[in-house]
């Protein structure tokens, strides 16, 4: 098993031998890494600097060596737009690649990443010009290819959007998601929510758990409608992550507040539901429970079966092999962690 940590200063790989985790020297040293993906044996990433932008890169040897694709991903000339950052790369089961970028847009590739096409259906959506950047920028950071035609994306801050025709047309799907940062918090807007992450049940794609910028929601109809499943059940329903790894089983990590981005009560706790959000259980065995001023960002939590890992903005990383019952600290003193991926070798 290998765990990859994208950070603000490079991509780190952790491997376990004889019960000891070893962290390799970083690849893309000094560059920001917000995305890691795997399809088949090939790894994908998109190192980024403020100087020279981003280059989609791939590795066929488990991250030992990396090559940038020959033709850089770029917005078409007629958009008069420059790509700022890549937030997410993912692949569907057929190998179609998806790339979510800033400013918020979706690109796809059907030739294993050699060329990328802007999804015009989303780019031309009339809502797009009303989306507002969050503190981290206007990024499309979540891509869920449910089938070859049904995809869901999430944008901060634009909300969740759903297509049923492989990107030709898109519908905002933020039903019931309250946006307390909007002028009238009693009115639920059609779009403009700040969806932080959506996870899909691997056994039932109808079921999703969504972590909003305040609020944890469930959908049982592939994102068409949502129900609040976090209110009064969690120490805070603010947070960034959402992970699902088994039937009705999801994990989130509550954060105290919008501004105070620390763990509630200064305790590092993961919360797990095994009944699709009806009840939540705190998981803290092995995690620090006193004076913890740390945070976990939206892509910094990942699962492969009952193996889960997360990384913090303070550069600490934790791993569980028993579905969250016990945790081990496997790294510290890393740069700010921006994404985590757990892959079976």
């Amino acid at each position: 098993m290998q765990i990859y940590f994208g950070t603000l200063k490079g991509l780190f790989r952790a491997t376990k031998t004889s019960d000891v985790w070893k962290i390799d020297s970083p690849k893309f040293a000094g560059q920001m890494v917000y995305s890691i993906a795997k399809h088949g044996k090939r790894l994908w990433s998109a190192p980024f600097t403020e100087w020279t932008g981003t280059q989609i890169s791939y590795s066929d040897d488990a991250g030992e060596s990396w090559n940038a694709i020959a033709e850089p991903i770029a917005f078409p000339e007629d958009t008069e737009t420059a790509l700022e950052k890549i937030w997410q790369i993912t692949a569907d089961s057929s190998g179609k690649l998806f790339c979510g970028v800033q400013p918020a847009a979706l690109f796809t590739s059907d030739d294993n990443g050699e060329t990328w096409d802007l999804c015009r259906g989303l780019w031309n959506h009339p809502h797009r010009k009303e989306w507002n950047p969050g503190y981290g920028g206007l990024g499309l950071h979540t891509i869920l290819p449910i089938t070859d035609k049904i995809w869901i994306v999430a944008i901060s801050s634009g909300g969740a959007y759903r297509t049923e025709d492989a990107g030709e047309t898109w519908t905002a799907c933020n039903n019931a998601i309250v946006a307390p940062f909007m002028p009238d918090p009693t009115t639920i807007p059609e779009f403009g929510q700040c969806v932080h992450k959506i996870a899909v049940d691997p056994t039932n794609p109808n079921l999703m758990i969504l972590q909003h910028h305040w609020g944890v929601y469930r959908s049982v109809d592939i994102g068409k409608t949502w129900q609040n499943v976090g209110e009064n059940k969690l120490p805070s329903d603010f947070g960034f992550v959402s992970v699902m790894n088994a039937k009705d089983t999801a994990f989130i990590i509550p954060i105290k507040a919008d501004i105070e981005r620390f763990f509630p009560e200064e305790k590092m706790r993961v919360y797990r539901t095994r009944d699709a959000g009806e009840t939540w259980q705190a998981l803290a065995n092995g995690l620090p429970q006193e004076g913890v001023f740390d945070c976990v960002l939206r892509d910094s939590f990942h699962a492969s079966g009952e193996n889960l890992a997360f990384g913090t903005t303070g550069g600490n990383a934790y791993f569980t092999s028993d579905n969250g019952e016990t945790w081990d600290k496997i790294a510290e003193h890393l740069p700010r962690i921006t994404c985590v991926r757990v892959f079976e070798s």
């Binding site: 600097t49 403020e50 100087w51 020279t52 932008g53 280059q55 940038a68 020959a70 033709e71 850089p72 770029a74 917005f75 000339e77 008069e80 737009t81 420059a82 790509l83």
Partner: protein, 94 residues
């Protein structure tokens, strides 16, 4: 001959090659044309300096001799045969 030197932070996009040469057909050439020709087969390097809208990236500094091209005519600055172009990343903190 026009010599182009790029900072190592940028050169990583082209196998760490720091020094580049361009033999212009005319005595005077626009800077953009120099860069388009010299980096014709180095698309990642070119896009690392100039984005897809045709603008020099915000934190890249290009000098003709010892003069920042922002004080000249930007990418439309005229480069003469024998002049040197230097491309740097801006200094940064953190």
């Amino acid at each position: 001959m026009i010599n182009v030197w790029i900072h190592s932070n940028i050169a990583r996009l082209a196998n760490d090659k720091l020094d580049w040469q361009f033999e212009p057909e005319n005595e005077q050439t626009e800077l953009l044309s120099v860069l388009q020709n010299i980096f014709l087969n180095e698309r990642n390097l070119f896009f690392g300096i100039i984005d897809e809208t045709g603008k020099v990236r915000k934190h890249i500094n290009i000098y003709k001799g010892s003069t920042n091209i922002n004080k000249l005519n930007g990418l439309q600055s005229i480069v003469k045969n024998g002049e040197e172009i230097n491309i740097f990343t801006a200094v940064s903190g953190g």
